[in-house]
Symmetry: C2
Subunit: 494 residues, 2 copies
């Protein structure tokens, strides 16, 4: 153990009477020399990772750790490439199960998969890294990205900026929740896209349950505190409403008996809920949600205030918890990139998911869309699309690498191979206890299988269990579901 | 469903063209009347809970939700008493396992037990409550406590203050971590007493591991970031150091291979580690900790700065993570109470755990100590002591209630029964992977069984498993241990 030797050495320093101010950690010269032989020397790493040499593995830089980026990272051949992932979070979120964590059906960790488990080479190979950072800009000309470390309030001299040279760049940084320019959404509503959002929702829900039990709180205030409003009737909004009403029926009635008559769930949607699903499924969902106590309101939000939202028809809706899930739009980073965009403002790609105007740059997932010139429609911002694109691109990059085109500018003029074709495998959504919808049609117009009820709930659970990436999390999800079934949900507010 | 009827009614209001500004939630008169028949009327609850009447169940108010308070709440006869618990957290922390959660061996929720599970009557009985609040003062003369709701930054008109009348009051609000007046401890060190402390330690540790991998970080800075310093060599400090070194050996070497040679653990203690344990056990612990890479430093901390601590001998100890576990002292609330105190500043109690100067008030756990007049020594601030006291006092209160002394001032002159006698059942501490100490002697001077190594590790785990209160958590702890054993620890930073 090298550091142990250093410690012994440092202890010697410590005992020396010549040094009045001693340091246990400050490295001695020997130590520094020793470290520089162990890892790359400090000089070569200062400021970032420089261009790879011809005899080194080419470097793929992946921006983002969502469905698209993680699937790519998982499938890429690390014997051929060094992989560097840059993302502000060190895990992938298993988004379809996130709604279940808000009320304690599942635990937060069960839906988060560390990048190091998805691709172990990232934590082991000398040239592969994960950097907890945001990308601030891309220098397409010089094959480099500029990044800034996420320090999260930790005391550090200055926000560390660094530069990474890439041989291939994959932009998979995703989209951001849209607020449609409505005032107050960012300040007062909670999105449901990251684990910390789910944590915030859970903490707030439990806090409101306890606050409404405080002596002296008026009935009006209780009704407000315990009014859970969900804006957006897509799968996330519907699943969250279903989980909430299930939580109320099963757990609040038992654990918060004093205030159980005050809690309510309202789902506000401008059009129809689950608009992408089959008609009959939609009707079934509407019936089930209403039956379980979720109030469906057709309306458009005009303004969000700290304790109420105002609809365009003038209705006031007081709330205690406001969850916003009305879809996504391009992020600031994507907006800042000077490349052709798709009609919806997403990074424009050709049929091989390349950005045609620049060399060696690809884009996958929610942040990209087909250019109009491809004649293909922009695909919906779904986990399923992102995951397929990641899988396809990993295969493409492995093929390019095998053909010797891995390094920067080395794939010029190479045959691009088969284009990316998306085949929709169906949509799924749960609507509370043992009820789910499975729409196996390939598009809205097509005919095909549509299921509702217990059978599809079972399919839904099984499908998700086999999709969660690691065995560890598959195991935990199964255990969580079993525990919730036997003991009810966890209500400790930590 | 009453609120469903209200909603229908409100929908009618909503459709009325006479009201330009409508509200979905504002309660109508019918609604308010209806609610007041369902629960107590708003008027009687306004400002708190008033004195109980002769024909009502007497009310026991418990301040705190630690080992002492929770054991009491669990054992008290809720057919005889209404129980009201006031605490800033809605769960009990299973403190002996808290150190394991910092590195992901156990999950946070596995060591937190919601009050509502410990005593279901609290969430169901009409006169029993849990209030998420701090007690701000006690009016011993009028049998009442003043409380202030914990709002946790949530937007609420003003901090809700309320008053609770009690028939019996149990002060079990615990102690607080002592800093010995050392500057900077509160600002820069993390204690290890609550779940949020463990969460903070875990987030910081994982952040530092990732930050130290950023390109351009000097070796000196890496050594600092990854230097984990623990101050205090009691069981908590030793267990945390052991878990950390186990985490480093088993997980960091595999998952953070780039920086594994920079991470180190130092345990600073002014005297000997585990001073309350048997000599041989102490030697065994010292040997094992040193062997697993923990550096033991004998020293006294003088000053804590953002990136280094300074010892009294002038040594600088740069750190990235600083955990402080040097013992506890009286809290501000306890200091503010004008009652006789024990020599160590704890609330003075007699042999029946009563505060002799006032009627119907008891104190248990870390916040209390025997008065000098009892001739008994103040007991150590241990979970074991607190739990025994809670058990004893519940029995006492049940006995008093049965004899008709439950209401305020009704137990005057009643025979106090058997005094509280503490029997030490032994001490336990783990020191990393499959190693633990079990000291079954009743006091430091006594002779008795002392075990070390795998056998005692097994005893330790079994003892804890049977002590975790609910089956749900026993099950989760077992599952967590099994998963960590098979898959390693979870390293996602959420």
């Amino acid at each position: 153990m090298s550091w142990f030797r250093n410690l012994i050495q440092l202890s010697t320093i410590k005992r020396s009477p010549l040094k009045p101010t001693k340091s246990i950690v400050s490295p001695s010269l020997t130590q520094l020399l020793q470290f520089s032989t162990e890892s790359e020397s400090a000089a070569t790493r200062q400021g970032g990772l420089g261009p790879t040499k011809g005899d080194e593995k080419p470097r793929v830089v992946v921006l983002g750790s969502g469905w698209a980026g993680c699937r790519l990272i998982k499938d890429i051949d690390t014997k051929m490439y060094d992989v560097v992932c840059v993302s502000p979070r060190n895990h992938m979120v298993f988004t379809p199960l996130l709604a279940s964590t808000c009320v304690g059906t599942l635990e937060f960790r069960s839906v988060a998969e560390p990048i190091g488990r998805i691709q172990p080479a990232i934590s082991r190979e000398p040239g592969s890294y994960f950097f907890l950072a945001n990308c601030t800009g891309v220098d397409f000309q010089n094959h480099a990205v500029h990044c800034q470390t996420v320090t999260d309030g930790v005391d550090i001299p200055d926000p560390w900026s660094f530069k990474l040279s890439y041989d291939k760049l994959v932009i998979a940084s995703g989209a951001q929740a849209s607020t449609f320019g409505i005032k107050g959404v960012k300040e007062h509503a909670i999105f449901l896209r990251e684990v910390h959002h789910a944590q915030e929702i859970r903490r707030k829900l439990l806090l409101n349950l306890m606050l409404s039990d405080v002596p002296g709180v008026s009935d009006e205030e209780k009704l407000r505190l315990l009014h859970c409003v969900v804006v957006g009737g897509g799968p996330t909004g519907v699943e969250f409403s279903g989980e909430l009403s299930d939580f109320i029926t099963r757990d609040v009635h038992q654990r918060y008996a004093h205030v159980k008559d005050y809690i309510r769930v309202t789902l506000i949607e401008a059009n129809e809920i689950l608009s992408s699903f089959d008609d009959r499924l939609r009707q079934y969902a509407t019936k089930q949600l209403t039956k379980s106590g979720v109030r469906l309101v057709r309306g458009i939000v005009k303004d969000v205030q700290p304790r109420k939202i105002i609809l365009t028809d003038g209705t006031d809706v007081p709330y205690g918890l406001l969850v916003w899930s009305t879809g996504v739009g391009p992020s600031g980073f994507v907006n800042s990139l000077e490349v052709p965009k798709s009609p919806s403002g997403r990074i424009g790609v050709d049929e091989w998911l390349r950005i045609p105007s620049v060399q060696d740059v690809f884009s996958i997932g929610d942040c990209c869309g087909f250019l109009e010139s491809t004649g293909k429609p922009v695909l919906p911002a779904l986990a399923q699309v992102a995951e397929r694109q990641g899988k396809y691109l990993a295969k493409q990059l492995n093929r390019i690498g095998e053909a010797g085109g891995g390094h920067a500018n080395a794939a010029k003029g190479m045959e691009p191979g088969d284009p990316f074709v998306y085949k929709h495998l169906g949509s799924m959504a749960t609507i509370g206890r043992y009820k789910a919808l499975v729409d196996l049609r390939q598009s809205k117009e097509a005919k095909g299988l549509a299921l509702a009820g217990f059978t599809s709930w079972f399919i839904w659970r099984s499908a998700y269990l086999t999709r969660v990436i690691s065995w560890r999390n598959r195991f935990y999800v199964a255990i969580n579901w079993a525990t919730t079934f036997v003991f009810g949900r966890d209500i400790s507010r930590i």
